[in-house]
Symmetry: C2
Subunit: 313 residues, 2 copies
C-alpha cells in the first residue's frame, strides 16, 4: 500500500514515524514542491493538509484523500484536480472539539464575567467592583451544529447560558433552541448575544457575517469566530464595532493569515486576536483514525467522514 503525504509546515518526520508504527504495511512518500512528477510513486491514499493541486494528479489507483484538520475548504478548492469518485475524508474530531470548546468557553467567560475590564483595572492597581452581567441576558448562539458546534454547545450548557443554534439542515439537540436554513437565520440572530461561528466554509457561508446579518444581532452583541476568516466581511464587521453596535470580538481566524501587520484589527482593543490556535490537529489521534479508516476501506467496509462535495462539508 502506497501513501503520499503532504503538510505545508514541512515537518513530516513525526507523521512518518507515527504512520510507520500504526500502518507498518504502508510505504509512505512525502510530496515536495518542485518534485519531478516521475519520482512520485502512484498512491493508494493521499494524507494531506492544504495539498497543492499538483500532488493530486497521476494516481490511477487512488482510493481516498484524507484531510488533516477540521475544515476541508482548502482541499475542495481543488475539486477539479481531484480524480472523480475518489472520496475526500475528514477526520471525525482528532481531539479538536474539546480544544474548540475550551477556546470558546474561555472567550465567553472572559466577556461575560468582565475579566478583560478587571485586567485593565489591575494594571492600574485599581480595586473596584464592576456591575456583573446577568446570565439570562447572555444567550449564546452557535452557527454550525456539527461535531465541533455540538461539543461547544455542551460546554456552554455546563455553565447554564441560554443556548441556541443554527444549521443548514434542521437538527434537534437537547437543551438547544434550534434554527435551520436561510429563513430562520434572522430569528436566530435577533436573539443571540454571543455569536459563535463554527461553520464550514462553502460558497453559501462565505461572508455570511456581513453588515446585513451582523446588524440583526442585538446591540452589544459579541462575536467569536473559530471557523474561517472568509466567513466575515471584515470591513462591515469593523464598522459595527466602531459604531458600538457590537461590543467586541474574539477572533482566531482571518481572511489573510498571518494577519498583516497593518491590519486595522490589531489597533482595536475590543478585538482579541489569536493566531489560528483554537484547535490543533492532534497527531496521534489523527493517525489512529486514518489507519482505522484505511483498514476499513481495504476490507470494503463503509467509513464515516466522507465529504459531500455538493454541500462542501
Amino acid at each position: 500500500m502506497q501513501i503520499l503525504f503532504y503538510s505545508p509546515d514541512n515537518k513530516p518526520e513525526p507523521w512518518l514515524a507515527g504512520l510507520a508504527q500504526t500502518l507498518p504495511e504502508a510505504s509512505v512518500q512525502v510530496w515536495q514542491h518542485g518534485m519531478d512528477t516521475e519520482n512520485v510513486v502512484p498512491a493508494d491514499y493521499i494524507v494531506a493538509w492544504k495539498p497543492p493541486a499538483a500532488m493530486l494528479a497521476g494516481h490511477p489507483r487512488l482510493k481516498a484523500v484524507f484531510n488533516l484538520g477540521a475544515g476541508v475548504d482548502a482541499i475542495l478548492q481543488l475539486a477539479d484536480a481531484l480524480p472523480p469518485n475518489v472520496p475526500v475524508v475528514r477526520l471525525d474530531d482528532a481531539g479538536m472539539a474539546v480544544q474548540m470548546a475550551e477556546y470558546v468557553t474561555y472567550a465567553i467567560l472572559r466577556h461575560f464575567r468582565r475579566f478583560d475590564d478587571y485586567e485593565l483595572q489591575a494594571r492600574q492597581q485599581q480595586w473596584r467592583f464592576l456591575k456583573p452581567n446577568d446570565k439570562g441576558d447572555f444567550s449564546v448562539g452557535i452557527l454550525g451544529l456539527g461535531v465541533l458546534g455540538s461539543r461547544i454547545a455542551e460546554a456552554v450548557q455546563h455553565f447554564g447560558f441560554p443556548l441556541r443554534g443554527w444549521s443548514r439542515s434542521r437538527k434537534d439537540l437537547p437543551g438547544i433552541e434550534c434554527f435551520a436554513g436561510g429563513d430562520e437565520l434572522e430569528a436566530f440572530l435577533r436573539g443571540t448575544r454571543i455569536l459563535v461561528c463554527v461553520l464550514p466554509l462553502t460558497a453559501e457561508t462565505t461572508q455570511i457575517l456581513n453588515r446585513s446579518t451582523l446588524e440583526k444581532l442585538p446591540k452589544g452583541a459579541y462575536l467569536i469566530n473559530v471557523a474561517r476568516g472568509a466567513h466575515v466581511a471584515e470591513s462591515d464587521f469593523l464598522a459595527l464595532i466602531k459604531s458600538d453596535h457590537l461590543a467586541g470580538a474574539t477572533l482566531d481566524v482571518f481572511r489573510n493569515e498571518p494577519l498583516p501587520a497593518q491590519h486595522p484589527f490589531w489597533q482595536e482593543p475590543r478585538i482579541s486576536i489569536t493566531p489560528h490556535i483554537s484547535a490543533l490537529t492532534l497527531r496521534d489521534n489523527s493517525i489512529g483514525q486514518i489507519a482505522e479508516k484505511i483498514r476499513a476501506l481495504e476490507q470494503g467496509k463503509p467509513i464515516a467522514g466522507i465529504v459531500d462535495l455538493s454541500k462542501g462539508y
Copy 2:
C-alpha cells in the same frame, strides 16, 4: 416574626423588598452602627453578612443566625457574642458554586492554553504560534471538596483535566483522586500542577499555603485562590513566584481587602488580581433559601446548612 438584617454595603433596600415579598409574615428591622440598643427590637432571626458583635446581643428568643455568603469565618470570629445553642446557618449555594466554577475554569484555561502569552503578543501585533501545553501534565488539585469544590471539580472534569482533591475528612467522589487529612496533604501537593484553594478559613487552614506546603508543588505549578486571603502566607508565596518555583497565580482574595495600593502583588505580572468577585451572593436565590429554612424551623423541621462551630464550617 421579627428579623434583624445587616449588610456592610449599606444597601438594604432590595433585601427588604425581597424579604417582604417572600416572607410577608415577617417584620424586618435594619441594624445600623451607632443605633441606640433600646431601639433594637428583639429578633427571632438575624440575617447578616459580616455582622458587628453588638447586633448579636439582646435577642432572648433568637432562633437562628443566617450568614449571607459562602464563608462563615467572619461570623465565627464572634462566636463568644453568639447566644449559646443558636445555630449559625449558611446558605447551601445561593448561585455561588457555578460562579466559582466559571472563575476557576477561566483561570485554568487562560494559563493552560497560554491566552495570557497570546494577549501579550497581540498587543505587539505579533502573530506567532506558541508550543501548546499537554493536558496530561496539567493535573488540577482542589483543596476543599464541599459544595463549591465539588462544583469546580465538575467543570474541570468537563474539559478532561486530570483531577485530584483534598479534604479534611475523607470523601469519595467519582473521577477524582481523593486525599484526606494532614497525612496525605504532601502526596496531594506533589502531584498537583494547578492548585485551587476553596477551603473554609479555620484555625487549621490559616496560612495552610506557606513555604513548606507550596514548595511541595512541582516546579511550574500555578495557584488559584478563591477562598480567603489568610489561607496564603503572602511573603512565602511571593518568594516562590520570584524564584520561579511557581509559574504564577490568579488571586481573588487577600489578607487585607481592598488590596493596598503599595502591595507587591500589584507589581508582579505573573499574579492576576481580581477584587473578590469570584462569587457573589445572588439575592433572590438567597432570600428564597432563607425563607424556606425559616418556615422549616418554625414547623420544627430539620434544615441543612447548620455550621459546626467546633470545625468552623
